[in-house]
C-alpha cells in the first residue's frame, strides 16, 4: 500500500555556490581548488589579528547577476554582517555574511516537471558570504564522528559564496532534483560558478517535512546535510520522506533536528546531541562600508545575461522542431547548445544533429570524462559537414560512424578523412552487381532457399556484399539489386 498518497511533502533547499572569481572574497589570494593545504593564505583570509577585509567587486557583480537570473529584487543598499560562532575551519570565529539586507530577495526559478508542467519555485533570498576552510579528519575508520584529531586547511577560507534559499515550494524529491538541475544550468549559463558538486563548488542542504493531505499546518521539519550529488539529494529526500511518514503512521513524533545522509548506507542519521542551540549574535560588519547598487549597474549587468536554458529549450522545440527530451538535454550546458546550433547552421538537419550530439558525442565525452564540449577536438562545423556527407549520400551512416571516431580522435575534418581512407560510398550499380554475382555464386544454397520462401536469407546476402565492399556500398542499392537478381 502506498502511504505516500495520504501525505504531502514540503521541501525547501539551501544551496551554497562558490563563485568563480579569480581571487577570494576579501583578499587577493587565489580562489583555486586542489592545491597543497595552506598555499593560498594571507593575513586577511587567515583572520590574523589586525588584518582587515576588502570587498572583491567581482563578487558583488556576480551576486547581482545571480539575483537577476533568479528574478529577485536587488537591494539598493546592502551590507555585510558578522555571524559569530566557533569552529576551527572559521579563522576569525565569525563569518562575514549577510543577515537582514541580502543582496537579492523575493525571486523564483521556473522548473519544468517530467510531465511537461511548469512550476515556479520561490527564492526567498540570495546573499553573499565567505566560505570556511576545510577539515581533514585523522581517523582509522574514516567515520567523521570517530576522528581523534583534525587538520585545518585554509585554502578555501574566504572564497566567495552565494547562499540561495528556496521557499518551501518543492513537493517531491524529484522536483528537488529538477530544481537543482535547473538552478545549476542557469548559474553555469551566466558563468558565475563551476557548480561542481563533487569539488564542493555547489552544495545543498535540504529542509523537509510531511503533513497529512489537506492539513494547513506544516509538519516538523528536519534538516538534511552531507549530500554530494543531485541524485543523492533526491535519494536522501526519498528516504527521509518515507521515514517521516512511517513515524507518523506509527503514531510517533518527528523530532526537529539535523540529519546526515550516508551515501553508502543510503540512510540519514541523526546528529542528535552533537549540535547545540545557535546564537549567532549577528551585527553589521564595522570593517566594511555598506554597498549601494545603482540602477545603472543593474542595467549594465542585465545586458550580459544570455538566453537562459529553459527559454532556449523552448526555442529549440519551436525553431528546430526538436522533441522536448532533446531540447532540454541539449540546453543543459550553454556550450552544448551553442555547439548544436553551429552544427545545424552547417547541415540544416536539427534532428540528425541532435542525434549525433546526444548519442555519439555525449557518450564519448562521458566515456572520457570530458565535461565541457569545448574541450573536444571536433569542431561543430565539421560535425555539420559529416552530416551533410551522409545527406548527400557520399558516405553511409555506418561509415559515418567510423569517420566520426576518427574526427573525435584527431580533430581532422570529415572530407579529408573520407578521401584519405577512400571511404566514399559505392553507388555505381555495375560495381555492386559484380560483387553480388560473386556472392550469389558462392552461396547458391541460400539463394535457392530464398526462392523457396525463406526470405530471411536476404539479410545475410546483403551483409556479405557489404563485407566484400568494406561497408562502402550503398546498402539500399545493394538490397534492390540483390532482390532483382534473385527474383528475376
Amino acid at each position: 500500500m502506498d502511504l505516500k498518497k495520504n501525505y504531502e511533502t514540503v521541501i525547501g533547499l539551501e544551496v551554497h555556490v562558490e563563485l568563480n572569481t579569480k581571487t577570494k572574497a576579501f583578499c587577493g589570494c587565489m580562489n583555486k581548488f586542489g592545491e597543497e593545504p595552506n598555499t593560498f593564505i594571507c593575513p586577511v583570509c587567515l583572520g590574523l589579528p589586525g588584518s582587515l577585509p576588502v570587498i572583491n567587486f567581482e563578487m558583488v557583480r556576480r551576486a547581482v547577476k545571480i539575483g537577476l537570473v533568479l528574478n529577485c529584487m536587488i537591494s539598493d543598499i546592502t551590507k555585510f554582517d558578522r555571524k559569530n560562532y566557533y569552529y576551527p575551519d572559521l579563522p576569525k570565529a565569525y563569518q562575514i555574511s549577510q543577515y537582514d539586507t541580502p543582496i537579492a530577495k523575493n525571486g523564483f526559478v521556473e522548473i519544468i516537471n517530467k510531465d511537461g508542467s511548469k512550476k515556479k519555485i520561490g527564492i526567498i533570498r540570495a546573499h553573499m558570504e565567505e566560505d570556511a576552510g576545510k577539515l581533514l579528519h585523522l581517523t582509522k575508520t574514516g567515520q567523521i564522528g570517530e576522528a581523534e584529531e583534525s587538520l585545518v586547511d585554509y585554502n578555501r577560507a574566504g572564497v566567495p559564496l552565494i547562499e540561495i534559499v528556496s521557499a518551501p515550494d518543492i513537493r517531491t524529491p524529484e522536483e528537488a532534483y529538477i530544481y537543482l538541475k535547473t538552478l545549476r544550468a542557469i548559474l553555469r549559463y551566466i558563468d558565475v560558478s563551476d557548480c561542481n558538486m563533487e569539488e564542493g563548488s555547489f552544495r545543498c542542504d535540504a529542509n523537509i517535512s510531511v503533513r497529512k493531505k489537506g492539513e494547513e499546518k506544516l509538519g516538523v521539519k528536519v534538516e538534511i546535510k552531507n549530500m554530494n550529488s543531485f541524485r543523492n539529494v533526491q535519494k536522501a529526500l526519498e528516504y527521509e520522506e518515507q521515514r517521516q511518514i512511517q513515524l507518523l503512521e506509527n503514531g510517533q513524533k518527528i523530532i526537529q533536528e539535523t540529519r546526515l545522509w550516508d551515501a553508502n548506507k543510503e540512510k540519514t542519521f541523526s546528529m542528535r546531541g552533537k549540535e547545540e542551540a545557535h546564537d549567532y549574535r549577528y551585527f553589521p560588519e564595522p570593517d566594511l562600508p555598506p554597498i549601494e547598487i545603482s540602477k545603472e549597474m543593474i542595467n549594465e549587468i542585465k545586458k550580459e545575461i544570455p538566453e537562459l536554458p529553459v527559454v532556449k529549450a523552448q526555442r529549440f522545440i519551436k525553431e528546430y522542431d526538436l522533441p522536448e527530451y532533446d531540447a532540454f538535454l541539449l540546453t543543459e550546458e550553454k556550450e552544448t547548445a551553442d555547439f548544436f546550433e553551429n552544427v545545424v547552421k552547417v547541415c540544416g538537419e536539427p534532428k540528425l544533429s541532435s542525434n549525433w550530439i546526444m548519442v555519439e558525442l555525449l557518450a564519448k565525452m562521458n566515456q572520457d570524462n570530458i565535461k565541457n564540449i569545448n574541450e573536444i577536438k571536433i569542431k561543430p562545423e565539421d560535425l555539420g559537414n559529416l552530416i551533410l556527407l551522409i545527406k548527400k549520400g557520399t558516405i553511409s551512416g555506418k561509415i559515418a560512424k567510423e569517420v566520426f571516431t576518427e574526427m573525435y580522435k584527431t580533430g581532422k575534418d570529415p572530407e579529408k578523412i573520407v578521401n584519405e581512407k577512400g571511404l566514399i560510398q559505392i553507388t555505381d550499380s555495375k560495381i555492386i552487381e559484380e560483387v553480388i554475382d560473386k556472392v550469389i555464386s558462392a552461396n547458391q544454397k541460400i539463394v535457392d532457399d530464398i526462392k523457396g520462401g525463406k526470405e530471411k536469407g536476404i539479410g545475410f546476402l546483403v551483409g556479405q556484399v557489404m563485407k566484400e565492399t568494406k561497408g562502402k556500398a550503398n546498402p539500399q542499392l545493394v538490397n534492390e539489386l540483390l532482390k532483382s537478381k534473385i527474383y528475376k
Binding site: G28, M59, L151, D279, L288, E292
Partner: protein
C-alpha cells in the same frame, strides 16, 4: 535587568570561556551593575532615530579581482601551536 548566574554560564559558553563558581558570582554582580547603568538609555525615546552602525558615511569601497601573492605558510606556521602535514592540528571536534 540583573544578570543571573545562569546567564553568566550561558554567555561564558557562547564566548568559550571557563568560569569558576566564584567568578560566576563576581561576573554576575559586576555585569549586573554595568547593565543597570547602561539601561539609563531607556530614558531616551529613539523611535524615529536611525542607528549609526558606521563611524563614517562611506560606501562602495571595493578592490579589483586581481591576484596578489599569498604569504609563505612557514611564516604562519612559526607561531602555530601544532602543525602536521601542512595543516593546523586541532583536537577531536565532536
Amino acid at each position: 535587568m540583573a544578570i543571573l548566574k545562569k546567564d553568566v554560564e550561558y554567555i561564558a559558553h557562547l564566548s568559550r570561556l571557563n568560569v569558576s563558581e566564584d567568578e560566576k558570582e563576581e561576573y554576575s554582580k559586576q555585569l549586573s551593575n554595568i547593565i543597570q547603568h547602561i539601561e539609563r538609555l531607556n530614558e531616551l525615546n529613539t523611535d524615529n532615530v536611525e542607528p549609526t552602525y558606521y563611524a563614517l558615511d562611506i560606501k562602495n569601497v571595493f578592490r579589483e579581482d586581481k591576484i596578489e601573492e599569498s604569504i609563505d605558510k612557514e611564516k604562519v606556521f612559526n607561531s602555530a601551536p601544532l602543525i602536521e602535514k601542512n595543516g593546523f592540528k586541532v583536537p577531536k571536534i565532536i
